[in-house]
């Protein structure tokens, strides 16, 4: 069952064959993404219920948010998804240097996102909107803070993936960490794709 080819593969589980390990890790990450979907889904559900109950509350609350910051952050994250997928692509081709480069861009985008978030939160606090005075702001802070937390975790994850690239670990037959963290990163982007219109652009 084990072979010399296997012992050369870094990061492989001792009882896996390479294709099996890759398929297993990818499947495992998709399962994890399912849990994230249900986690945020609860918040989207609370949003739907209260939006239905009191539309005016949401419309008024939304006026406190600057759509330009939201749109800018949306573009930043979309771009970071693009750089992430280019990183995966480079890893698939075994180009470790390019992986580092594309991951760096992704991390920079994530950092920009968090800086913008920081300024938005600062403004809210200055306007006396924290602790949240009503359900709209309760949901706004909870949803964006939970999302922001996931962005921070993503930065940490990508730094670790980058460190493996710096050691030259990736090749055409092994790039699982990049692919799998890419999936995570795209989910973070996906959630923001929904948060932006729902929080910032209510009529």
């Amino acid at each position: 069952m084990s072979s010399s080819a296997q012992t050369q593969q870094p990061g492989h589980f001792h009882h896996f064959e390479p294709e099996q390990a890759y398929a297993a890790s990818k499947f495992g990450m998709w399962l994890f993404l399912a849990t994230e979907l249900l986690l945020f889904g609860g918040l989207f559900c609370a949003y739907a219920v209260f939006y239905n109950r009191n539309h005016e509350l949401f419309a008024e609350g939304s006026k406190w948010l600057d759509w330009r910051f939201g749109a800018f952050n949306t573009v930043v994250l979309l771009f970071s998804s693009f750089t992430m997928v280019r990183a995966v692509d480079s890893a698939q081709r075994g180009d470790n240097k390019k992986v580092v480069g594309w991951l760096n861009l992704t991390i920079i985008c994530a950092a920009i996102f968090m800086v913008v978030k920081f300024f938005e939160y600062k403004a809210k606090i200055e306007h006396g909107l924290f602790p949240p005075p009503n359900i709209y702001f309760g949901l706004y802070f909870t949803m964006t803070a939970l999302h922001g937390f996931h962005v921070l975790v993503g930065i940490g994850l990508l730094q670790w993936v980058k460190s493996l690239a710096k050691k030259g670990m990736y090749s055409t037959t092994y790039y699982t960490p990049v692919e799998v963290s890419g999936l995570y990163w795209h989910l973070v982007d996906l959630i923001w794709i929904y948060l932006f219109p729902l929080l910032y652009l209510i009529h």
Binding site: M1, F13, H14, H15, Q20, A23, A24, F27, G28, L31, F32, A34, T35, E36, L37, L38, L39, F40, G41, G42, L43, C45, A46, V49, F50, R53, N54, L57, F130, P131, P132, N134, I135, G138, L139, F141, T142, L146
Partner: protein, 553 residues
């Protein structure tokens, strides 16, 4: 043939291959992890059981018996929280599941062994946080309903944080099992030959992965509501306590199936062995397991019939809830079908398995009363519900766990417990359990509300009976645990596969299994249930041979 320890001449198995606390704490061996989970959950079972006896002692007579009402509220809350989050939810999957899954599919370990170890560490962290919460006030019941639970209470905040952490352990275990079952089956272990315990773990794992995040976000919102204010569950801010219940039960209904599906799986493994007959209706059992998992997501509202949902919502939930009884009944018929014309032996695992069928029958049929809107209006929040869920959880899941512990005991320890004591303990347990909870159905029908500290004197006779038998119930468990613990250390060493099972986990080259289970991955050629059938008889794979069962989907 396996390595031998120097000096003692004992064969090296997963227990004696390495010694010392650190080797256990840092292990990634699924069998060791399973044992550590077992010790942990049984510890919490005892603590939760003591809380139960304190509750029953107080309720022995009306008015104050031992302590005051505030203390009572804390004790029954802790009983529920400990039993559910720290004992029965990890339950069979974390213990028997961890130990057996790789063995049953012919793998050397689960898909992600280090993640498995992380699951255990997270469980320990959650337990530590829960322990801290014991010193703070938690008196909301295990359901943490708002608005009572959002009054800035540190006890609630800490305990819900513990439950949130424990949820991660559950999710990661479920994730690990799903990937293991899909990607690590040995050659020849097709979906059609998969042991029913594995199918049960598969179904429960889906629930663990998909449902647990919802309680995660619910508890997170509860914590935030207490700490900073969010508004969604707080009526003072225009929020909705019924929304909390919706969120809570969306997980907490599937969680009861996480508890019971693996127990069904254990029974499916035991009855064929002790009736020396193939399981009746293998395919129906599989469809029933997966079907129960699927339907379980759509019935949560039956916990909320009198909470204030709209009428149409209630009709729909009641209607769908009736459907869940169907696959469960199919399982009961199939167990009976397996026993029919079987050659039955009455060893202790079989006693547990048979009593499971009986007790779950009571549990399930009383569930119909609760699924019916008209009768539930009367029974909701009474002792009828308490009796129902103790029959399902204790009479079902806990009995299933103990059945499995007795059955797989030789495989786990290479020793046998005392069979006579096991039978006596079972009898005391069985009588004690029924004596505790049958009267509670009557109490509920007469209107005795649950979670009440005091009651009118008319209810006293039934309460007295229930309390007395509760202590027998406790005694039964004490005897079982003494027997099993003694057996694990000092029990008589037994020959391999004492029950004569055909299932793969009993076919390891070493007994108990070596650290990596198999020297070479086995090639499976037969179904594990071909008792008293010609060699190579494979009820199922013969029909589906042309479809070509795959081993790596």
């Amino acid at each position: 043939m396996g390595a031998y320890a120097q000096g003692s001449g004992e064969q090296l198995n997963y227990i004696n291959c390495e010694k010392g606390f650190w080797s256990w704490w840092m292990t990634i061996d699924h069998k060791r992890l399973g044992l550590m989970y077992l010790v942990s959950i049984l510890t919490f079972f005892v603590i939760g059981g003591v809380a139960a006896l304190l509750v029953r002692a107080e309720l022995y007579s009306h008015g104050k018996t031992l302590y005051n009402a505030d203390t009572y509220n804390i004790i029954f809350s802790l009983h529920g929280i400990i039993m559910i989050f720290l004992f029965i939810v990890p339950g069979i999957p974390a213990t028997l599941g961890n130990f057996l899954l790789p063995l049953m599919v012919g793998a050397k370990d689960v898909a992600f062994p280090k993640l498995n170890r992380l699951s255990f560490w997270i469980y320990v962290l959650g337990a530590a946080v829960a322990f801290c919460a014991l010193f703070l006030r938690v008196d909301t019941g295990w359901t943490f309903y708002t608005p009572y639970s959002i009054q800035n209470r540190w006890g609630v905040i800490t305990m819900t944080l513990a439950a949130f952490i424990l949820g991660f352990s559950s999710i990661l275990t479920g994730l690990n099992f799903l990937v293991t079952i899909h990607k690590m089956r040995a050659p020849g272990m097709t979906w059609n030959r998969l042991p029913l315990f594995v199918w049960a773990l598969y179904s429960a794992s889906i629930l663990q992965v998909v449902a647990t995040p919802v309680i995660g976000i619910t508890l997170l919102l509860l914590i935030l509501e207490n700490v900073m204010g969010v508004g969604v569950f707080n009526p003072a801010m225009g929020g909705d306590p019924v929304l909390f219940q919706h969120f809570f039960w969306f997980y907490s209904h599937p969680v009861v199936y996480i508890m019971i599906l693996p127990a069904f799986g254990v029974i499916n493994e035991i009855i064929p062995v002790f009736a020396r007959k193939p399981i009746f209706g293998y395919r129906a059992m599989v469809i029933a397991s997966v079907g129960i998992a699927a339907v379980s997501f759509m019935v949560w509202g039956h916990h909320m019939f009198v909470a204030g949902m709209s009428n149409n919502t209630r009709y729909i939930f009641s209607f769908i809830t009736f459907f869940v009884a169907v696959p469960t009944a199919v399982k009961v018929f199939n167990w009976v079908g397996t026993l029919y014309k079987g050659s039955i032996s009455w060893d202790s695992p079989m006693l547990y398995a048979l009593s499971f069928v009986f007790l779950f029958l009571i549990a399930g049929t009383t569930g119909i009363h609760l699924a019916t809107l008209a009768t539930d209006a009367h029974y909701h929040d009474t002792y009828f519900v308490v009796a129902h869920f103790h029959y399902t959880i204790q009479g079902g899941a806990v009995i299933g766990l103990y059945a499995g512990l007795h059955y797989w005991f030789p495989l786990m320890f290479g020793r046998m417990y005392n069979e006579k004591l096991a039978k006596i303990a079972w009898l005391i347990l069985f009588i004690g359990f029924n004596g505790t909870f049958l009267p509670q159905f009557l109490l509920g029908m007469e209107g005795m509300p649950r979670r009440y500290y005091d009651y009118p004197v008319e209810f006293e006779p039934l309460h007295k009976i229930s309390s007395i038998f509760a202590f027998f119930n406790g005694l039964g468990y004490v005897l079982v645990l003494v027997n099993l613990i003694h057996g694990a250390f000092k029990g008589k060493k037994c020959e391999r596969n004492p029950w004569g099972s055909l299932s793969l986990e009993w076919q390891t080259p070493q007994f108990p299994p070596a650290h990596d289970n198999w020297e070479t991955i086995p090639v499976v050629t037969d179904w594990g249930y071909s008792y008293n059938k010609p060699a190579g008889y494979d009820d199922h794979a013969q029909h589906s041979a042309s479809k070509g069962g795959s081993t790596h989907v």
